[in-house]
């Protein structure tokens, strides 16, 4: 408070001396109350006590009102909002975590399903291959059998044909002998001759 008195002593007289002369005649015609006379109004010490008192009253009440009512209220509003925002952010990050987990689970399942599908496909392919193999073997076996049969038939037909070739040759030989020699050769001779030639 030493500052206040020091300043009052310093400022008030200087204000009086500098403005007393100009202030005097400007006021004379303004109808301002006599208390304000003689000084530039902001430096008129006569108004100081009243202004200080009312400043103390009004500012004091204002301070109390702000401290008791406004600051807690506005602070509360802002705190509630910040809480709400951080809560919402928390929830959002929680939901994001859940979504991420769901995506991971989905991908894992997808990978598993792919693996299963591959193995099933592999099995099916293997089974089909094995079946095809057995079928092929069976058909080959059947074909071999038929081939064997056909070869046997061909060989029997060939044998028959060869046999018949002998009798035809005998007939032809007997006919040729008859035509050339004019006598009949015995069947046994002709057959022996044919046989010896055919050998």
């Amino acid at each position: 408070m030493f500052v206040t008195s020091a300043f009052a002593q310093e400022s008030a007289p200087s204000a009086d001396t500098s403005h007393a002369t100009t202030g005097g005649d400007t006021h004379s015609g303004t109808g301002v109350p006599a208390e304000a006379h003689g000084a530039f109004p902001p430096f008129d010490p006569a108004t100081f006590p009243s202004q200080l008192l009312w400043l103390a009253i009004t500012f004091g009440l204002f301070y109390l009102f702000l401290k008791r009512v406004v600051v807690p209220r506005v602070g509360g509003i802002i705190d509630v909002r910040n809480d709400r925002i951080s809560q919402d952010l928390d929830q959002a990050s929680k939901l994001k975590g859940e979504a991420d987990a769901a995506v991971a689970a989905y991908e894992q399942e997808l990978a598993e399903a792919k693996k299963n599908a591959n193995s099933i496909g592999q099995q099916a392919a293997d089974a089909a291959k094995a079946e095809a193999e057995t079928a092929r073997k069976k058909i080959e076996a059947a074909l071999d059998e038929k081939l064997g049969e056909a070869e046997a038939r061909i060989s029997s037909i060939k044998a028959n044909a060869m046999k018949e070739v002998g009798s035809i040759a005998e007939d032809t030989a007997s006919a040729i002998v008859e035509a050339l020699v004019g006598g009949k050769a015995s069947k046994a001779e002709i057959a022996a001759a044919v046989k010896s030639v055919a050998r």
């Binding site: 500052v3 008192l53 500012f59």
Partner: protein, 252 residues
């Protein structure tokens, strides 16, 4: 009466509305007191009514109140740290009081509370008084370290301490004179240019045409004064924060 209208000092006169005299002191309820009451009522009502709905999503007016609150809050936190927040109601009241007083003063025929040195000095003395009282309460004689900066050579110390003390003592003066002088000068200039408009218009058609210039000037000055009203309230609050920081951390 025409002379009164042009007199730029007229607006600063103190007029007694309810004369009160106690113990030889004139404690009258004056126009200054009336506008202090108006300032407080307007500021308090604005802050109270705009936040009454306590909306999670603020409307425009509630945003204004919250912006003022957070503006001062950030200012104080930046200057004095979180410990300084115990002074928040004080700095917030100062800022709102000075701001609303400055803004009300811009209305024609309204009295500007902050254009009187005793009002601004009262507020400045309150700030410095708070700094001194809190500084000694918190740090005891350690508060005097404020006047002894670190790392100064011993032979310079007396000089530096003297300078620090002078700078500390001049703080309330500079704080109060800055606000007072800005408001006073601005209002006088505004009044002078507006007075030109009136006196020129009285000279007939040529005068009316010529009065366009001071009128434009008065409009521009009003805009400037609006800026100054904000700026000075801000400066007052910022300096208060810095001085409070000295009380909290006197060792620099």
């Amino acid at each position: 009466m025409a002379a009164d209208k042009v007199d730029p000092i007229h607006q600063f006169h103190i007029i007694k509305l309810v004369p009160i005299n106690i113990g030889g002191y004139d404690l009258s309820f004056t126009n200054s007191a009336l506008f202090m009451v108006a300032t407080v009522v307007v500021a308090a009502a604005f802050l109270f009514l705009t936040t009454s709905s306590r909306s999670l999503i603020p409307g425009r007016l509630q945003s204004v109140s919250e912006m003022a609150y957070e503006f001062v809050g950030n200012m104080l936190r930046d200057a004095a740290g979180t410990q300084g927040m115990k002074f928040f109601p004080f700095v917030f009241s100062l800022f709102m009081f000075v701001l609303v007083a400055n803004l009300l003063g811009l209305f024609p025929y309204f009295f500007t509370v902050t254009s009187h040195i005793i009002v601004t000095f009262g507020l400045a003395a309150l700030v410095i008084g708070t700094v001194v009282v809190y500084g000694f309460m918190k740090h005891g004689l350690g508060f005097l370290k404020l006047f002894v900066p670190h790392g100064v050579p011993v032979f310079l110390l007396p000089l530096v301490v003297l300078i620090e003390i002078i700078s500390f003592v001049s703080r309330p003066v500079s704080l109060s004179v800055r606000l007072f002088a800005n408001m006073l000068a601005g209002h006088i200039t505004l009044k002078v240019f507006s007075g030109f408009v009136v006196s020129l218009s009285a000279l007939g058609a040529v005068g009316v045409a010529g009065s366009v210039l001071p009128l434009a000037m008065a409009v521009a000055l009003t805009a400037l004064e609006l800026l100054v009203a904000f700026l000075q309230a801000y400066v007052f609050a910022v300096l208060t924060c810095m001085y409070l920081n000295d009380a909290l951390h006197p060792g620099h």
